[in-house]
């Protein structure tokens, strides 16, 4: 199936207590791209993610995934259609080990007959083995293979961010939403993250990225969409966005636009 748009939000709106946190926002994400959404704090980026991923139902507008209307679908159903995400406010399975966290990520690829599971039939055993191996691979991809058997609760913040990515990756999504993955990473770690995001995109997964680290954003994004106060302000390539005066004023500030220009240049 060839689409020129894999994820599309049309005129999405949502309100809390009368205030529109997302106001008629439309985005079209081409497949295989790294598509970034930036904007000041409280612009509605996370909320937009929440609506797209089915955590909140939109007030107005629609969401299309791979050409199908998925507006208002529950997150678990969206997940089964290939949409996965990470969270700005970490949502780990803290009592499970890192490996188990990622194994849950494989859930949508596992067949679960309760009776077979209760009896631990060979099919279940084989499947467990496969899930485990796949999960270990993904952990290795984000550099956490050494922490596989540690409880998630005992990992440092930066590792948790990567664990969330691993968990989402394990579900082999078509579209992956990343909400501030670089928060809590130092510049060197951020560089690693950039490579990871690139490799994810290269493997054919569309990445939608929300991030405040402009070096990262300008570096990896194919397209950037700017939200301010719940509304779309601009969209374009890294260069276009950096030179857009409205964006510089509302979000980047002079220094950063220079700094990120350096990063790109």
């Amino acid at each position: 199936m060839a689409h020129d748009v894999i994820l599309e939000a049309r005129s999405l709106s949502i309100a809390f207590g009368g205030v529109r946190a997302v106001n008629e926002v439309s985005v079209s994400v081409p497949p295989g791209a790294v598509f970034s959404i930036i904007g000041p704090n409280g612009a509605g980026k996370t909320t937009l993610f929440n609506v797209i991923s089915g955590v909140y139902a939109p007030l107005e507008g629609s969401v299309r995934l791979a050409g199908e209307d998925v507006t208002g679908l529950a997150p678990e159903h969206l997940a089964r259609r290939g949409l996965s995400r990470t969270f700005q406010n970490l949502q780990l399975f803290s009592r499970m080990t890192a490996l188990e966290n990622v194994m849950v990520g494989r859930h949508r690829h596992e067949s679960t007959g309760t009776l077979a599971e209760l009896l631990h039939l060979p099919s279940v055993r084989r499947q467990n083995q496969r899930t485990r191996e796949a999960a270990l691979d993904v952990l290795a991809r984000v550099g956490l293979e050494a922490e596989a058997d540690r409880p998630a609760a005992s990992l440092p913040y930066g590792a948790l961010k990567r664990l969330e990515i691993a968990r989402a990756l394990a579900s082999e999504p078509m579209v992956l939403l990343l909400d501030e993955p670089a928060a809590g990473c130092n510049p060197v770690e951020t560089q690693g993250l950039r490579n990871l995001i690139r490799s994810i995109a290269e493997s054919g997964v569309t990445v939608v990225l929300v991030e405040h680290d402009m070096r990262l954003v300008m570096n990896v994004s194919d397209r950037i969409h700017v939200l301010v106060g719940g509304r779309s302000l601009a969209e374009g390539t890294a260069q276009e966005i950096q030179s857009n005066p409205a964006v510089v004023e509302a979000y980047l500030g002079i220094d950063h636009s220079r700094e990120s220009a350096r990063a790109v240049g």
Binding site: F16, G39, P40, N41, G42, A43, K45, T46, T47, Q88, N89, L90, S154, L155, P156, Y157, G158, A159, E180, A183, G184, C185, N186, P187, V188, E189, T190, Q191, H212, M214, Y251, L252, G253, D255, H256
Partner: protein, 233 residues
Amino acid sequence: MLSVSNLTSAYGRIEVLHGVSIDVPEGEIVTLVGTNGAGKTTLLRAISGVQRMTNGSIRFAGTLIESLPSHARVSLGIVQVPEGRQLFSPLCVEDNLRLGAWTHRRTDIRRSLEQIYELFPMLASKRRMAAGSLSGGQQQMLAVGRALMAKPRLLLLDEPSMGLAPLLVDQILQTISALKRDGLTILLVEQNAHAALAIADRAYVLETGRITVHGTAAEVGSDRRVQEAYLGI
């Protein structure tokens, strides 16, 4: 002002700080640099008294404080902006701020509130909203604001710029510098090492629970290993 010597700390039986010593002179900004899992957060928690330490001592303004409960340390003026914001999510923004001034309950907190709102106008417009409903960056502002409400003498900042938009990152760093000018002592943990070293007087590098490099901010910033490992140069 603050002097930590030979501090060890463990989660269960796993030791994560193996005898850390740092000094934070009065009126200076000291920054702590280290990778994920180095133990920066653990060290700050230990200084605040919310993390058990197994050995070592902490001296604040001349007195040993390692046996004081956390609330007593706050009363002395040691206040922390914790990792992960740690807000009182069901309470509204203003209540969060008021509780920040818990140890100064009897003073006039109206003025302090106004100062915080001036610093973060976005919070002013949300003062009646539950803290839990704020965006990530707004929560971070609130966490910083709440700490400032306590009128600290020593401010411990654990990644204060996390989740903030670039403009606000600048603003926070400027604020930190300004606070220092007002006489506040600051211990700063910040992943944005460039920026942290730029405003700090002194720096320590923490690697897997041990201090490996320390000196003035300029010295540490020009250390080859630090540049490679932390600055990405």
